[in-house]
Symmetry: C2
Subunit: 241 residues, 2 copies
């Protein structure tokens, strides 16, 4: 999809986007941020009224969202918010991440030269917002503002996204989108990923080191280690609500 595979050359800014794409972004944002009950109905007409557009672009956006897994459709019955990932599906999601992201890390090692600086910046950002999260925890005592959560998750995932971009492989990049939406949704249900910011930063740094000074296999191994540890931490968070 994206024409510019490599860095974040922001050519996407002025590329013309139809109403359909804007509606898609709006609904996606709504699903990501707002707490919408899984299984809740997404009425086409109601959405069209709320967004002040006709049902047609809403309908197209929902078709697009259906393929991300955030929305499920039953013919002649309408769209619903996808149910939360069951434990079994959560394990499957991590399996898929292992397959995809380890392979991506291995391939991205070819372009380590251009990729390493970008990843260094990403890790720095990650470390910085980790500090902010810890400071804010002291203030509010356990609960974080939604905006901070949102920003943290974005920066965290950006590291993984950069690796996908670093492969220069448009097919893998497309598939990463399917993963990313599910991961973000998982993080809504599994209230995690903040208490372990330090560990996540350290593991990302390990992947970066492997890309910088070691080979593709080492990068893949570091990625595998990271994802497996995230899996363990997520399991713990599921067990103890």
């Amino acid at each position: 999809m994206s024409e510019t595979v490599y860095p974040l050359a922001g050519a996407a800014a002025l590329e013309r986007k139809g109403l359909r794409d804007r509606v898609y972004d709006l609904i996606l944002d709504m699903l990501m941020t707002a707490d919408i009950a899984p299984g809740a109905r997404l009425s086409i007409d109601a959405l069209a009224r709320d967004l002040r557009v006709s049902p047609t672009p809403v309908r197209e956006a929902l078709v697009q969202l259906e393929r991300t897994g955030l929305v499920v459709r039953e013919a002649l019955k309408g769209y619903r918010v996808a149910p939360p990932l069951a434990d079994e599906q959560l394990e499957a999601l991590f399996d898929a991440r292992l397959v995809l992201e380890c392979g991506a890390a291995e391939l991205a090692a070819r372009n380590a030269a251009t990729l390493v600086p970008l990843l260094e910046h990403a890790v720095d950002e990650h470390r910085a917002i980790g500090e902010r999260v810890r400071a804010t925890a002291h203030e509010h005592g356990g609960t974080w503002p939604v905006e901070l959560l949102r920003e943290y998750f974005l920066i965290d995932w950006n590291f993984h996204h950069l690796i996908f971009e670093g492969t220069g492989n448009p097919f893998l990049l497309d598939m990463s989108e399917a993963i990313s939406t599910r991961v973000h949704r998982m993080r809504q249900t599994v209230r995690s990923g903040l208490s372990d910011a330090d560990e996540a930063v350290a593991e990302h740094a390990a992947i970066l080191d492997a890309l910088r000074s070691e080979g593709p296999e080492a990068a893949a191994a570091a990625m595998r280690d990271h994802i497996e540890k995230v899996r363990i931490r997520s399991r713990a968070d599921v067990a103890s609500p």
Copy 2:
């Protein structure tokens, strides 16, 4: 998507499908079989007239097709048949297949017991149609009927599809669809995959053996060997038109 992950339990038969899904199938079939020039415009209104439906379901089907990579869309300009895969993209496609299918083979080894019989059947079918292809080659002397081509490719890919199903991982299965459409489209441009039927069958059998008697790593290695060899053969066919 598919509710029944495992074998070909045809529950999809009587599950209600809206008009959108039928239009999707029709256009997909059209793109797969008919020789449509890459870059040709896919007019929404024209398709709606031809299929005797309104533009709305056509529009939805095209949104769905866009995510398969068979169709590209430019906002406010319409849909076009996706251009043929350039050499660079072809290499990227094989890289993605390596990542995905080797990982899938490794995961599918968990369910080898239930998977092996299905794969045996698939290899038998593959071998049989390989024989038919060779016989038909003697008759017609070089050119094959379209229907035979279609059937061969379907059976060939079925082996790979079964492995994806064997993982029991819905995410990997979804991604396999993105790959399969591209592979089928590649085979339209790269006139190959028939002369090397014997080799393909042998390599599939090797994967099957690894799943039956060896471990997950062996299965992944056999899959890697197969895809790499397909890559080599495809390169040769691209070089010599």
